[in-house]
Symmetry: C2
Subunit: 274 residues, 2 copies
């Protein structure tokens, strides 16, 4: 923490890392991004991203990040240890661990790369959605404090206000989302937003069963300059499950700019009970 903390965005406080002098960094959980149990996994993923981004050996921009939630993160201090496993001419591979009290709670691999102009094309369609300004902002409950740091406007598949056992025909959610208060987009915030979908089992079954992400992989489709240009504009996210089976389901998601530009595609496997 430093003297300017009060001026910092909550996400910058949550992802602030200080050097330990041995190649590792020290961080600490913040109440602002608490989830129902422990910290919001999207914030943990952003901390992994931040550890590579601020590292003096870092090359280029991230193109892939995988985060594995190996054990619960307790409230308080944690150590992040990034290691540049291999650096090539235009790509760099990272292995990163978060530990508390000597026990590894989270692992990650990241790939960074320098980009260059090439033939480009987006094959999938921008989801059907009215402009963000025409969609009502959701009122978040305090059951998941992290949600209060986002402006979320559900176009489809919102968090069920009245949980029942009726269920929905599919698990698709589409929403406009941005940091609140607004914060210029970067890879730290985009990483969190890529994990900002409620567990698909909630949407599909409307039953509040225990559920938690076990592993998430996000691919990034643009560079830091482009994210900076997008600034504080709302992003459109869409997510769905492919298969629920015997304790695990997968979720596939896309995050778009309001200019219909695919910024990230993100996939995760999630534990659920019952």
């Amino acid at each position: 923490m430093n003297a300017s903390t009060s001026d910092m965005h909550a996400l910058d406080i949550a992802t602030e890392l200080t050097e330990n002098g041995d190649g590792s960094y020290q961080g600490r959980t913040t109440p602002a991004y608490a989830n129902m149990v422990g910290p919001f996994g999207g914030t943990t993923a952003s901390i992994m991203m931040q550890a590579a981004l601020i590292h003096p050996e870092r090359l280029g921009d991230p193109i892939a990040l995988t985060v594995n939630y190996a054990g619960a993160v307790a409230d308080g201090e944690f150590t992040v240890t990034p290691r540049a496993v291999r650096t090539n001419r235009s790509t760099q591979h990272w292995y990163i661990e978060i530990s508390q009290g000597g026990a590894i709670t989270t692992t990650a691999t990241a790939v960074f790369a320098t980009r260059a102009d090439t033939w480009s094309s987006t094959e999938i369609d921008f989801p059907e959605a009215p402009p963000a300004a025409n969609v009502q902002r959701s009122t978040m409950t305090d059951r998941a404090p992290w949600t209060q740091n986002y402006d979320m406007r559900f176009v489809r598949g919102g968090f069920p206000a009245d949980l029942s056992d009726e269920g929905e025909p599919d698990s698709i959610t589409t929403l406009w989302i941005r940091d609140d208060p607004p914060r210029p987009l970067d890879f730290v915030s985009l990483t969190s937003i890529s994990d900002a979908f409620f567990p698909r089992i909630f949407t599909r079954r409307r039953v509040p069963v225990p559920a938690g992400t076990v592993s998430i992989t996000t691919y990034f489709h643009t560079d830091a300059d482009r994210l900076a240009q997008i600034g504080t504009a709302p992003l459109l996210g869409t997510a769905r499950a492919l298969r629920f089976n015997n304790r695990y389901f997968d979720q596939t998601a896309e995050v778009w700019s309001d200019q219909q530009e695919l910024l990230a595609s993100s996939h995760q496997i999630v534990y659920f009970k019952e």
Copy 2:
């Protein structure tokens, strides 16, 4: 290598690992699974899977595997070092490296878990495809020797026989695929098959540009017993790109049983030139 090598399936030879006595294993590339440059990445992923599967500490079945191709694997010997980073009551997290001559060529994380009966559902549709027996088997070229270990029957988006610059409107490929000669399905073979799609840029643009997977993540939706029941039946695979931009594109793929059961969903980010 052992005396029974001549009776072993080529995939079992390619993924055979011998203990070095220090927690690492020794493996070797085989010409049967060579790609245009170096070994087929699907085989490398299967070797990562095998290193965790045969480890005495292994718990349950794999639910997620991420493999990062950090550097070229040269023909010959390599060392595989799996480490159980954290073992919980019903989940286990692995970090695995392949190295040659002290340089890390490949990294992986894997999540294993014990499963239990729960509510289950598949949300996406089985691709439109005639039965495998009604689709002609493709004749593989010797440019990618690994393809000769598979029976591939393209329903849509086959490898373009006549590469031109006309291009296709999308990058979707759907095919029936199984090991050839037939080999009972297990997590080793399913891991390879999840990476057995040609680079989407070939399908979309019909231009033979340099391309290679940088990172792949596969989620597994069933257990070892169910894979064994499927045995040597053909699998249906389908793959497409979401966005190509500035040197990288992503691919999303699904692998189904012929009983329309989603076995794996797999995602990768791929380098391409031009």
